[in-house]
């Protein structure tokens, strides 16, 4: 149940692209054709499925406050969490390079279809974002971390697939000249994001309080609302 909830949440409610804007750069740059979009999307799922659990292990057994306790009681006082950025990104960059080598060796056809996208992925913010959200949302087990990696990857895949399909069709429409290309893509993504917001009610069942983990945006918005409410109270 826990797994199922996390799975749907990561795909629809906290969708990487529509709720947190991660991986926007490659999302905008590689979405002109459906076939290339599928290639990049598959590569993202693949790399996230590897790096998120790996970074979870790193975080739990090395970086967290007191995580080094397994070495002996005298190590329990160390808190290396300030190193997490550098460790996560190093893991991701190495894994991407490793995956590239392995795929090239064992499946040349897959390599040819993923080919140019693999190096791009090291700097795709969705990948690092996945690991950072995994850390900040305190995911409990390595199984859940794997689940989170795969499902966020699928969410990203769906988003880029959808926008690529729309962009292929929109080529035949009469878009105002200055909006052509990038501008209209932004606006369509905005409209799609509004659509995806309606998934927000899926797990909460209408009860706002039961939302345990929120995206950074929602937090920002909530804070703004809180400030407004506080002001209201002070006025009353």
């Amino acid at each position: 149940m826990e797994h199922l909830e996390l799975f749907f949440k990561a795909i629809f409610i906290d969708n990487m692209v529509f709720a947190t804007f991660l991986g926007m750069c490659s999302y905008l740059a590689v979405s002109k054709k459906v076939s290339t979009a599928v290639g990049l999307g598959a590569a993202v799922i693949f790399v996230m499925a590897i790096t998120v659990p790996l970074n979870w292990l790193l975080d739990t057994y090395i970086l967290k406050d007191g995580a080094l306790a397994w070495l002996g009681p005298e190590y329990a006082v160390y808190d290396l969490s300030f190193l997490s950025f550098i460790m996560f990104i190093a893991t991701i960059a190495t894994m991407v390079q490793l995956v590239e080598i392995i795929v090239e060796k064992f499946s040349p056809s897959l390599y040819n279809s993923l080919g140019i996208f693999l190096p791009l992925i090291a700097v795709n913010c969705a990948i690092l974002g996945g690991s950072l959200f995994m850390q900040s949302r305190e995911i409990q087990t390595v199984g859940l971390a794997l689940n989170y990696g795969v499902s966020s990857g699928i969410g990203w895949f769906l988003a880029i697939l959808a926008i690529a399909a729309i962009r292929e069709k929109i080529r035949y429409s009469n878009v105002p000249a200055p909006l052509r290309g990038l501008g209209i893509t932004f606006i369509i993504t905005g409209l799609m994001a509004i659509g995806f917001m309606s998934f927000g009610g899926m797990l909460t069942g209408g009860e706002e309080e039961t939302k345990e983990t929120e995206t950074a945006q929602v937090e920002v918005v909530k804070e703004a609302i809180d400030i407004a409410n506080n002001e209201k109270e002070t006025h009353e």
């Binding site: 529509f18 709720a19 947190t20 804007f21 991660l22 991986g23 926007m24 750069c25 905008l28 740059a29 300030f82 190193l83 997490s84 950025f85 550098i86 990104i89 190093a90 190495t94 390079q97 190096p119 090291a122 700097v123 795709n124 913010c125 690092l128 974002g129 950072l132 959200f133 900040s136 080529r171 878009v175 105002p176 000249a177 200055p178 909006l179 052509r180 290309g181 990038l182 501008g183 209209i184 932004f186 606006i187 993504t189 905005g190 409209l191 994001a193 509004i194 917001m197 950074a216 945006q217 937090e219 920002v220 918005v221 804070e223 703004a224 400030i227 407004a228 002001e231 209201k232 006025h235």
Partner: protein, 215 residues
């Protein structure tokens, strides 16, 4: 500007307008959209990126002859990550509330493609001073868009700027609220950031026809 030659000056002015990293080069979108619900967060983010970009470009440019090209991406990522850790620790020490608001997006400066993009495109091929200037220029171009988006989102969404209520008070109905104006709470939500940037692109490209993309 006796210090800078005309060519160097162009490195700063170009990214501010016709070669803007966000609206033209399509780099560094993620953070530009995610944290712009308030003007203050936009400004802090801009300063952070300015710091990381300027110093990062400088460092990479100094190291450009000793980095083997095969592992350059890892080397670049380590340089950025180190600078970002400094930014993160400084924010946590001096502006804790704000660093909570920015949450993972400070960390995501590492994978902000604007930084890697400039490393690849400029710092690896140019001298330290020019790279530094290029970094500053591009970070300023990035900051410009961030601040415009943050300005409109905060002004229209909560009727304030940097927390000061410039449009009057929405509860006591002073200022423009006396005439029936209401805040557009929708501006605070994530999708409006995308649409705001879309409109900025629209305005920019209608003013400069050369930037219009082919269909």
């Amino acid at each position: 500007m006796g210090l800078l030659s005309k060519k160097d000056l162009k490195l700063i002015t170009d990214p501010l307008a016709d070669n803007n990293p966000i609206t033209i080069q399509v780099l560094g979108i993620c953070s530009a959209l995610a944290i712009t619900a308030e003007l203050k967060a936009s400004i802090v983010m801009s300063v952070a990126v300015l710091f990381v970009m300027g110093l990062g470009n400088l460092t990479i440019s100094l190291m450009r002859n000793i980095i083997p090209s095969k592992i350059r991406i890892i080397a670049q990522l380590i340089v950025v990550a180190t600078l970002v850790i400094i930014v993160d620790l400084v924010l946590k020490a001096f502006a804790y509330e704000l660093s909570k608001t920015l949450s993972v997006f400070v960390g995501l400066i590492i994978t902000n493609c604007i930084i890697m993009g400039r490393f690849e495109a400029f710092a690896l091929a140019n001298g330290p001073l020019r790279s530094f200037i290029d970094g500053i220029g591009n970070a300023l171009g990035y900051a410009l868009i961030l601040i415009i988006v943050g300005f409109f989102r905060e002004l229209l969404g909560s009727g304030s700027l940097l927390g000061f209520k410039v449009l009057g008070d929405s509860i006591e109905k002073t200022g423009v609220y006396a005439y029936g104006y209401e805040n557009n709470g929708f501006m605070l939500l994530a999708p409006m950031a995308l649409i705001t940037v879309g409109i900025i692109i629209w305005v920019q490209r209608s003013r400069n026809e050369a930037l219009i993309e082919e269909n």
